[in-house]
Subunit: 323 residues, 2 copies
Amino acid sequence: MSSEFDLIARHFHRPVKRAVLGVGDDCALLAPVQGQEMAVSTDMLVEGTHFLADTDPRRLGHKTLAVNLSDLAAMGAVPRYATLALAVPDARDAWLTHFAAGFFALANRHGVELVGGDTTRGPLNLCVTIFGEVPCGQAIRRDGAVSGDDLWVSGTLGDAALGLLALREEASLGAAERAFCIGRLESPEPRVDLGLALRGVATSMIDLSDGLAGDAAHLARASGTAARINVDAVPLSFALRGQPQARRLRCALAGGDDYELCFTAAADQRDLVVAIGRSVGLSLTRVGSMFERAAGSAPVLLVDGDGRALPAMRGYDHFGAPP
Amino acid sequence: MSSEFDLIARHFHRPVKRAVLGVGDDCALLAPVQGQEMAVSTDMLVEGTHFLADTDPRRLGHKTLAVNLSDLAAMGAVPRYATLALAVPDARDAWLTHFAAGFFALANRHGVELVGGDTTRGPLNLCVTIFGEVPCGQAIRRDGAVSGDDLWVSGTLGDAALGLLALREEASLGAAERAFCIGRLESPEPRVDLGLALRGVATSMIDLSDGLAGDAAHLARASGTAARINVDAVPLSFALRGQPQARRLRCALAGGDDYELCFTAAADQRDLVVAIGRSVGLSLTRVGSMFERAAGSAPVLLVDGDGRALPAMRGYDHFGAPP
């Protein structure tokens, strides 16, 4: 057996239970499930763009799957399968062992079976396609928000962006804050349980990968509405609260990699939303509301606690200026 | 809208008909089809490993999808959907336009809908996940070959490998031979119709991406048998027939990127197999047969037309020595 296939088999060939056929043939085979739609998403992580060269491979294995699970969470889908294609510069065995350990630890927690993959030589690149199931018609899409809905987010925002600043030595943090923020950056916890619990309650949902301002704009645009965000209501961790005001805002509103959920729900569902958050162990915070978008106006309006308008802020953009 | 999302939308956002939801949300949504299994495969193409930096982007768009369609063909699955993740070093608009044109021209021919994707900055890397449908239990797997089966291949082998030698100026070819072989390398035609027509006839199948010797070994191993290949029977194009014997053998048996199908069928199905080839406009050639594998012996035995054993030959291996 050639070394390429050895590598694949050794690190990523696990038996499957749910899939009809897993890794090892030209294709995997998945059985249809009556009444369930298949939710599918793909994400590519590139060294230097999405993570630093010296990132711990176990954490990277976790994150590679986590960002994809987050997309399923944002649709209210149950994770089922994944494929993993990876390019590595050389046949680095210890690295692959740790990467696989992080990947499968998270996969096992969510019942995800790795059913296919590709391993090749090249600059480090990790591409996962994820498959989930959601009852027909019950997926939570981006386009369901209506004027008057509340806008909610889970957890705290901006920690990962602050973690990146810390790694680049562009922000100096205490030891606890630094460890917390780098953990948030490198080991995001996809909000799968929350996504499932919000079926039938959230009118629209997106996961926060590019920053609240930009991602809320995606929701608003898809729904044909606008979002008013009270920046003073955005939930901040102990780590971010200790930072200067400008950095706080920038990290929480335009920082990437939060992987929290942002969703809308009718205003009469507030008690239910809070209860759902409690049931999955996550704080949910109302950060604004949706309103009718006037022609030619921006999809997101930032205001402070006194209702004063603030300048617009862009989401993270791989081809634009650095955040 | 940020430039990253502009790029995605402009080049890869096409309306879908079959899918419930296409590009533009956190996930695509695919409706279940009663009685059909979903066949899934993923392939990653990397600049410098799978294609040269100056490859025509239209051809590259074609090939990126073609190698994935070839995996569906090898299972006897009908192509349905694809996702495309790509890393590009910069927001190269003309390149993306041509790449998308090549990708969608082939996608449209096979009724494939692009339902999801990711665009990011990084060394050029193209990752497609492909989805097809095959009636439950009818997929043609690698593990069904039995001793006594014939071993068949479609088309001619080794042309792409010779094309790569020509591009590297390591082989000198006439103009017609050169154009033909580079075309075979850069614009492979996935044998989707053949794969479908072989359902119920082929006992096992694989697509030839790493060379006949290596890929036949995969079939043999998965099936618990061995393959005897008559190298004098391997079908060669006019271009390869003009090459020295050693290069002919090397390209046809250990060259990558053929994307022909290699399959087994019972010996009493010969007339039917030939008729199937004719019905889809492809020549099919019997290149050997399967036999019981003795413990400790190789999965592939190469012999010449007089039955004399030849030295073993490895398939293409991204981490091994160059072919």
